[in-house]
Amino acid sequence: MNAPDLKLVSDNTLRAAGQSKFHESARAQVAGAATYIDDIPEVRGTLHAAPVCSPVAHGILRKLDASAALALPGVRAVIDAGDIPGDTTLAAFAHDEPVFALDTVMFTGQVIALVVADDVMTARRAARLVKLEIEELPAVLNVHEAHALESYVLPPVQVCRGDAKAALRRAPHQLEGRFEVGGQEHFYLEGQIAYVLPLEQNQWWVYTSTQHPGEVQHWVSHALGIASNAVTVECRRMGGGFGGKETQAGHLAVWAAIAANQLKCPVKLRLDRDDDFMITGKRHPFAYHYRVGFEDSGLLCGLELEMLANCGFSADLSGPVADRAIFHADNAYFLEDVAVASYRCKTNTQSHTAFRGFGGPQGVIVIERILGDIARTLDLDPLDVRLRNLYGIKERNVTHYQMKVEDNILDPLINTLAITSGYRERREQIAAWNASSPVIKKGLALTPVKFGISFTATLFNQAGALVHVYTDGSVQVNHGGTEMGQGLNTKVAQIVADELGVPFERVLATASDTSKVPNASATAASSGTDLNGRAAQFAARHVRDNLAAFVAGLDGCGAGAVRFEGGQVITEKTTRRWEDVVGAAYANRIQLWSDGFYRTPKIHYDKTTLTGRPFYYFAYGAAVSEVAIDTLTGEYRVLKVDILHDVGHSINPAIDIGQIEGGFIQGMGWLTTEQLVWNGKGYLQTHAPSTYKIPATGDVPAHFKIELWPEANREDNVHGSKAVGEPPFMLAISVYEALRDAVAQAGGQPMQVNAPATAEEVLRALGA
């Protein structure tokens, strides 16, 4: 299943792009030779840190008594806010988050201090010996409470088109609903870590597992009160990111840097998994209230939607996350009269942050749920209701934020999948099966995704790269993106190899490093390859142009007539080895390296009205999921999944399929077993894999088939490809809708099913 055609791999094609090249680090990874931060040989004198965390959700910090911790042999120091040479507030976007808790603690798990010791276990042991005197204050622990108190991290945002109220009044049918969707722990297998080394003259080297080295550099220099140029941040790879290392990695680097600055020693801070759960932000939990009007056909007339985002104690990225939820509340459907109100609720919990989809999933799930419920209200097939409401091509093609949908392939894509998956026939088979099965009931759902590609903050849509050709003909590429397993370095190397006409194996992608490509954006918003791949392509093109001009001079032809392919440089007159051309060019003082810079065209967006063209293009997909539920226990299995997804012209089909499968399973986890449970005091009870259950091998559906839509990106994007990191995550909403379909078929109340739809949640909705 889904293994890319291996013939493609061995095919002796001259081009790397389009081939399922193995991940550039795969051989090292399987041999345990790929280096993660904690694997870097430690510099002599390295000390280890552990956090001291708040045991209460809200309170006034009266006293910190570190004497018992300091008395433990091996403990070097306890570091707190008093040791910060620069600003005691993090250089985060909203500037609302203290580096270490100052006089107030804002959530259970907030870092108040660090213990630094000779080894990790001593530091962790000592951290628990630090005595905290905290006067507890009332805590706000859920969005409803926060909303009632108007406790927000950022002001509410409204996006309206037409007159939703009037449309609702006119509508022949109305439905009102409330539901909640839980957050999600990233559970990157490599926990958060930073290793900070003092260099000479108050300069610093920071090894960190981050999606955004540039921001870590900015935050560290800000906290140390020094210029950015004195801090270099390096990240060769992460052991998973998923958005969880977009801002959250910065905290660790800052903490470790403050300790290293105080002690003048290298300091490593590697969080224990439980601490990682307790300290770092997660996907935003959302609560919804909607009123929708619709016609007999299921066509939407008007929608009033209120979304409460649980942002935690600080803003972090909550503004753009909640914005993206608004931008995706339409998903694939035209909303003519609509009013969306978005509240960014401040609670005494971890500060929720970026997570694959970045608010998109929390937007998409609303409308998919509403359409499912409309279909059941009208006794129609939910697929027909979905098809009826899709964006049009010539009309009904402008989003509620005033962007024209120009690349719409929803209708043919969904109809193709409906046929290849046998959706209509299976609906009938399932109805028949359910009629004769007393305990096990099945459900089926097809849901599409339309996901906007670009950072909504237009300024982030820029990227740089460096391509170095060495005199032996080998090539290094470096770009501002980061490798978290998604295969960015592999794709970039493929792009560069093709641009220079050299074999893929000749190109080496190196560690992200702020001293090479500065001011790089986070590797996020699915845009890694779009931005960095293009920048690298341009850098390679500059080098190629230099070489082409040189060879054209030798052969007396135009530079445009010089071809680079298969490790050769070819003119009508001569075919030369790439290495020979490089050697000769060097001898003739031709520049063999260059930079490249790319900024996404066409996009613009007004932050005050949330209108414009925030996205360069849309990525599309659809999934059909079939489930079986046990009506005695609420347990269920996902039986069959068929996916048709649009990645444009794939640069690497194996990697893209890997993103689709991985994103789907991760999305399935979000909506099924991954339940975050905070107790009544705001303490996160699910803080380890023993209690927080991400999907395991046994959860992979027995039938799990992925097909790629064959068409190239209609916008000019690198190699005709489309971004793939986030969109497939939302395909898993089909599992949630299939579960609700099964609940309905069993005579239960599908509108009662919140997410995650644990077995308990399903049984509750069954009323058993």
Binding site: A3, S20, A26, G32, P41, P73, L632, G634, A688, A696
Partner: protein, 511 residues
């Protein structure tokens, strides 16, 4: 760097075989984990820490022991395994599998379990990868070079390894594929050399050892008698977390797993006896052999690396209210044999007593054992033809999860009435419990829907479960009764009413 410990904790030498060579480390504290020894003392960083509690599998390594001159392989979690427990064994990590490179910069030949992962695109971020590779290596070695590994087998054997990137499909592909790939020179295990190296490891010097691992039952009981305060461990799959998460320190550890007599499963006419050193993999294999209906349940007990380390005796002695073995064993009418060393004029002898499992526990993780007693055997009655027996586990995730509710029922009917019934329940009280009131409601009653209704109500009333992060009290109570309904329906020969009973093939056919 090795001697990071409080001064009062003494340490001793640890020896194991790696790549056919003996590795000896002085001064290893009794509570140091194998992962710490690998990563921090030996700078072998292929093996990763993902969670520090044996739930993610990133730290998976393979242990091998010589049994009758043959190596037996087991994938285990190194993060919660005490290092000294592998003394005298061979240890394999991901850096040990590929052929040594002869040329600088050249990429080494990979072992088939590694090569298959590359070819199937089974690694993305790569952090879980060495752990998966080692689980695959264990499967490879135990299947005659990866032969005949089915997808279902791979799903079961890899359920203790978490991956957050791939969605597992390519890794399952790799498990199926590795057997078809060639084994390059230098990648295979030199079994003879390893066995020879293991043999050459002399038994440890006696003395005031901080990690005691007696090789006979008598020596074990004498050690217990001499050191009643020593921390008793078997596979350490719970005690390991006391070290990594609770930061407990142990001055002295008494490891039961080397006692030869306790490494056996013995079969008698009316019962089988499972020694306290038998790991969960082997213990459940013995139980499944007697009662094939326990197959799925046995596979859902933790992940394979935990089953390979942990013991049934440890699970029972530890007495967690959410341990899955006890409800089952209670329903099966199992008893435990507690042993101690009794001094006599002639020196001493083994004294023992036997009690029903449910009588072992007195409260939350407390029991009737004396400080000098050890739980040595678990006796499980052999099945009677007429008994109908089922065990049900309800958890958030199907595999490798802790039960919200576990219910095990064994029932014998005579002329349509309930002649005998025993019910074990987990997750519903402070200890694993026997549902005596429900049993009373069933005993002597006609086995019909009305009786089941009444018994379901009795079962719901018998326990007052708590709400926690696994489930609410209301759900636990509802499901308890519903599981008795399921048992009733299954006793009536109804199939396809339990997702567990529908294997992947059936589901595919139904889908």
């Amino acid at each position: 760097m090795l001697a990071r410990m409080n001064s009062k904790i003494s340490a001793q030498t640890l020896r194991f075989v790696r790549r056919g060579q003996t590795v000896a480390l002085g001064n290893v504290a009794p509570d140091r984990t194998l992962l710490e020894v690998l990563r921090e003392d030996l700078q072998l960083t292929a093996t990763k820490e993902g969670c520090g509690e044996g739930d993610c599998g990133a730290c998976t390594v393979v242990l091998a022991q010589a049994v009758n001159g043959q190596l037996q392989y087991q994938a285990i979690n190194s993060c919660i395994r005490l290092a000294h427990s592998v003394d005298g064994m061979a240890v394999f990590t991901a850096e040990d599998l590929s052929a040594p490179t002869l040329k600088a910069g050249a990429s080494p030949d990979l072992h088939p379990c590694q090569e298959a992962m590359v070819q199937c695109h089974g690694s993305q971020c790569g952090f879980c990868t060495p752990g998966f590779v080692m689980s695959l290596f264990g499967m490879y070695q135990n299947s005659g070079g990866g032969q005949g590994i089915t997808r279902e087998q791979a799903q079961v054997d890899l359920s203790g390894n978490l991956c957050r990137c791939t969605g597992y499909r390519p890794i399952l592909d790799a498990a199926e594929k590795m057997g078809s790939l060639p084994l390059p020179a230098g990648c295979g295990v030199d079994e003879a050399a390893t066995v020879a190296a293991l043999k050459a490891l002399k038994p440890r010097q006696k003395g005031n050892e901080s990690y005691l691992r007696p090789t006979t039952l008598a020596a074990l009981l004498q050690a217990r008698s001499a050191h009643p305060k020593a921390q008793v461990v078997a596979g350490c799959t719970d005690v390991g977390l006391w070290v990594t998460k609770l930061h407990k320190r142990f001055e002295r550890v008494l490891d039961v797993t080397a006692a030869r007599e306790l490494q056996r499963v013995e079969t008698y006419p009316h019962h089988i006896a499972i020694g306290a050193a038998v790991n969960l993999t082997d213990a459940y294999a013995a139980l499944v052999k007697e009662r094939p209906q326990l197959q799925t349940f046995s596979q859902r007990f933790a992940g394979l690396p935990v089953r390979n380390s942990g013991t049934l005796g440890g699970n029972v002695a530890n007495g967690s209210p959410i341990g899955d073995s006890m409800p089952l064993l209670i329903a099966l009418g199992a008893s435990v044999v507690l042993m101690r060393w009794r001094k006599t004029a002639a020196g001493g002898e083994i004294a023992h007593r036997e009690l029903r499992l449910e009588d072992l526990y007195t409260g939350y993780r407390t029991n009737v054992m004396r400080p000098d007693e050890l739980l040595c055997w678990i006796k499980v009655p052999r099945p009677e033809n007429k008994a109908f027996m089922r065990v049900y586990k309800i958890s958030k995730r199907f595999d490798d999860d802790i039960s919200a509710v576990c219910l095990a029922i064994q029932m014998t009917l005579k002329d349509g009435t309930v002649q005998q019934v025993s019910i074990g329940a987990g997750g519903v009280a402070a200890t694993p419990a026997r549902a005596r009131q429900t049993e009373a409601a069933l005993l002597g009653q006609p086995w019909n829907a009305d009786t089941v209704m009444a018994a379901s109500a009795a079962l719901r009333a018998e326990f007052q479960p708590i709400s926690d992060m696994r489930a609410s009290a209301a759900y636990r109570q509802t499901v308890l009764g519903n599981l008795l309904q399921r048992f009733w329906l299954e006793s009536q020969g109804m199939t396809s009413i339990n997702l567990e009973s529908l294997n992947a093939v059936t589901l595919e056919a139904l889908a």
